[in-house]
């Protein structure tokens, strides 16, 4: 019965999983990679901004700060490693 239904769905163009979904998903992924081609300058600016925000809450080791783009087969991630020197009292009381 279900095969008959899917056959009819295909016949009348109501098949949900047409190949365009595959095309769009592949494009989405490939563009994430393409667009993630960020320059070292951009990463430097991003680092400075991150430090500015984070230092409102805690004292961090500026020299030990690492920010990089991590690419895997199916995703792209911004990975930041930020060693904390000391937590501020304000941050503590807020938590």
């Amino acid at each position: 019965m279900s095969t008959l239904l899917s056959f009819l769905a295909k016949l009348f163009g109501r098949e949900e999983a047409g190949s365009k979904h595959i095309a769009k998903e592949r494009l989405r992924l490939v563009l994430v990679h393409d667009r993630a081609n960020v320059s070292p300058q951009l990463l430097q600016v991003l680092k400075a901004d991150l430090l500015k925000v984070i230092s409102n809450y805690m004292e961090v080791d500026e020299k030990g700060l690492e920010v990089q783009i991590d690419r895997t087969e199916s995703s792209v991630a911004l990975v930041a490693s930020i060693p904390i020197k000391r937590l501020k009292r304000v941050a503590k009381s807020m938590a």
Binding site: R14, A23, R35
Partner: protein, 264 residues
């Protein structure tokens, strides 16, 4: 008020040259003074698309190198009052012209014409950089395929880096039946990915091949759907808010049957 527009795509074979020819002819039909510049040095094609290949004496490189005056290199299209072509050189390569020379050329053409439309070569190397050097606006052509949309995305990034922000998109060779089947990305899918304004959608149309065989444009052909789509694009360039053509309306028996059973 004149403007210099570059037509580009990244990927080859998506219809840049055909679009340039038809938009130019369409603007000329409506009484505007237009020059089409073939920036694809070494692989010129705009001349054959327009059927003007036998009338070339001088070319863009001759003008840039001062071998002739600009007016001597311009070819007047006798079919459309106001339409002119500045052909590319066929025997040189992209390095024969510099971006600076292109900027000067565009500035000079802008004094003479209302619309200066530059047909960019495929790729993102010097030919592309030359084509965009003197442009103030950009039209990006793509087709509903993964490779073409990806390259369009790359080109949009490069245009923005060249301060050609706000490029307009033309989706070419859309096949409504495949879209309806779910086997081709639709207009929304592509806009969603590229996130730029849509200038128009050209359906796949056999008339294009026939007119190209003859060295004619399709924009004046009242029976051609692609011709209608190009006319709409021309109106939009002129600032008229023409709605998108309905390409979903399936004609023929199957379309009617579908609608009858509520599936259309």
């Amino acid at each position: 008020m004149s403007e210099v527009v570059v037509v580009t795509s990244g990927k080859g074979g998506v219809g840049k040259t055909t679009a340039t020819a038809n938009i130019g002819a369409g603007l000329a039909i409506l009484g505007h003074k237009v020059v089409l510049v073939d920036a694809d040095i070494g692989l010129r094609n705009l001349d054959v698309i327009l059927g003007l290949e036998n009338r070339i004496v001088y070319d863009l490189v001759d003008v840039a190198h001062g071998n002739c005056r600009l007016r001597q290199a311009l070819i007047r299209d006798k079919r459309f009052e106001g339409l002119h072509l500045l052909p590319a050189a066929q025997t040189k390569d992209k390095t024969a012209v510099s971006p600076e020379q292109m900027r000067e050329l565009c500035a000079e053409l802008k004094e003479m014409f209302e619309y200066v439309i530059i047909d960019s070569p495929a790729g993102i190397e010097q030919g592309f950089r030359n084509a965009v050097a003197g442009a103030e606006k950009a039209i990006v052509i793509t087709t509903p395929e993964v490779a073409a949309v990806r390259d369009a995305d790359r080109v949009i990034g490069l245009l923005e880096a060249a301060e050609l922000t706000d490029p307009k998109l033309v989706i070419n060779r859309l096949r409504p039946r495949m879209v309806q089947r779910g086997d081709m990305m639709n207009i929304e899918d592509i806009i969603d990915i590229l996130a730029i304004d849509l200038l128009g959608v050209i359906p796949e149309d056999d008339h294009i091949i026939v007119s190209t065989n003859r060295g004619e444009t399709v924009v004046q052909d009242q029976r051609s759907l692609a011709g209608q789509a190009f006319r709409n694009i021309v109106w939009r360039i002129l600032g008229e808010p023409v709605p998108l053509m309905n390409l979903d309306g399936e004609r023929g028996l199957i379309g009617r049957l579908r609608r009858l059973v509520g599936l259309g």
